[in-house]
């Protein structure tokens, strides 16, 4: 890993650590926003390395809208998050093409 790669990852790690520390004293509703932001920054890092899929880019576009959704309405924010979780879950439920190296769960 190059120094610049490490630097970029360290910036993300710093963001998550400081968020964790500051959330001990910040308003509780900042918590979801920080996790949303961490998601966005993680996908951004992957994008810069050319390993973000179209699906991950869709997620990034969606999470970028989340802060303004929360400003408009908490219900809208929760509903958009539910939709996103559902989309991610559906993707997770799709078998990986070429087969998985993990054993199948017992029926």
């Amino acid at each position: 890993m190059s120094r610049s790669d490490e630097r970029e990852l360290l910036e993300l790690v710093a963001f998550m650590l400081v968020s964790s520390r500051n959330l001990m004293t910040e308003p509780p509703r900042y918590g979801p926003l920080r996790l949303i932001e961490a998601t966005r920054r993680l996908i951004e890092v992957l994008e810069r390395r050319g390993i973000a899929t179209a699906f991950l880019r869709e997620i990034e576009a969606s999470v970028s809208e989340m802060p303004s959704r929360l400003m408009r309405s908490e219900q809208e924010f929760v509903s958009a998050l539910d939709d996103l979780v559902e989309a991610v879950s559906a993707r997770l439920a799709t078998p990986v093409q070429g087969g998985s190296d993990r054993p199948q769960a017992a029926a």
Binding site: L10, E11, L12, A14, F15, V18, S19, R21, N22, E26, Y30, R34, E37, P67, S68, M71
Partner: protein
């Protein structure tokens, strides 16, 4: 009351300033930023203490480092103004009140002055309190007695958000708590004007 041109301009600046979180990549000239800070020093301070200290940050790696430890900054801005306070000097001048209560107020008043001045020049700003003071202290190499209290991200706005609605009900009370000023405005018959014209327009 006759409104002056300066008054109109000031009202316009106050009501059109927004917290800008997305900036264009254009650099902001250091001298321009320093002149904003100078205007900030015209804000009042408790006991005229003037214990604020400012660090103007435009160096990209430093901006990025501060951004990394400041969850309140969405994306790295072209510049960050770090408003610090000399807590030792504040304590010498104003005791515990000067150190603990005056410095955050003085920082806030300087910040608002800077943000309005920046807005007058077409620059966007956002005041940020969600940062790690110890980390910023380390990144900037601040002396022990100098503590960062507020960050202001600055740059040419890429996106200006719409204004959130302002709460008015129950905000202003007249003479004593529980007598909202708005109520009085809505009941002109109770106004003190002997001509019964009620109170209209701006309060004097």
């Amino acid at each position: 009351m006759t409104e002056t041109e300066a008054g109109r301009l000031l009202k316009n600046l106050i009501t059109t300033r927004r917290s800008v979180r997305q900036f264009a990549e254009t650099k902001v000239d250091v001298d321009r930023l320093a002149s904003l800070v100078t205007l900030g020093t015209w804000a009042p301070t408790g006991g005229n203490a003037q214990t604020w200290r400012f660090v103007v940050v435009t160096d990209e790696p430093t901006v990025r480092a501060i951004h990394a430890v400041s969850p309140g900054i969405s994306s790295p801005p072209p510049a960050i103004l770090v408003i610090c306070q000399d807590l030792k000097r504040a304590e010498e001048l104003g005791g515990a009140m000067g150190r603990d209560r005056c410095t955050p107020m003085d920082t806030a008043m300087a910040a608002q002055t800077i943000m309005l001045a920046a807005h007058a020049e077409g620059l966007g700003t956002c005041a940020v309190l969600s940062f790690h003071p110890g980390a910023v202290h380390k990144i900037l190499g601040l002396p022990d007695e100098i503590r960062p209290q507020l960050l202001i991200s600055v740059g040419d706005p890429a996106k200006v958000p719409p204004p959130p609605p302002r709460t008015s009900e129950g905000v202003v009370h007249l003479d004593r708590w529980g007598r909202p000023y708005n109520d009085r405005l809505s009941r002109p018959q109770e106004a003190t004007d002997p001509r019964g014209e009620g109170r209209k327009g701006d309060p004097t």
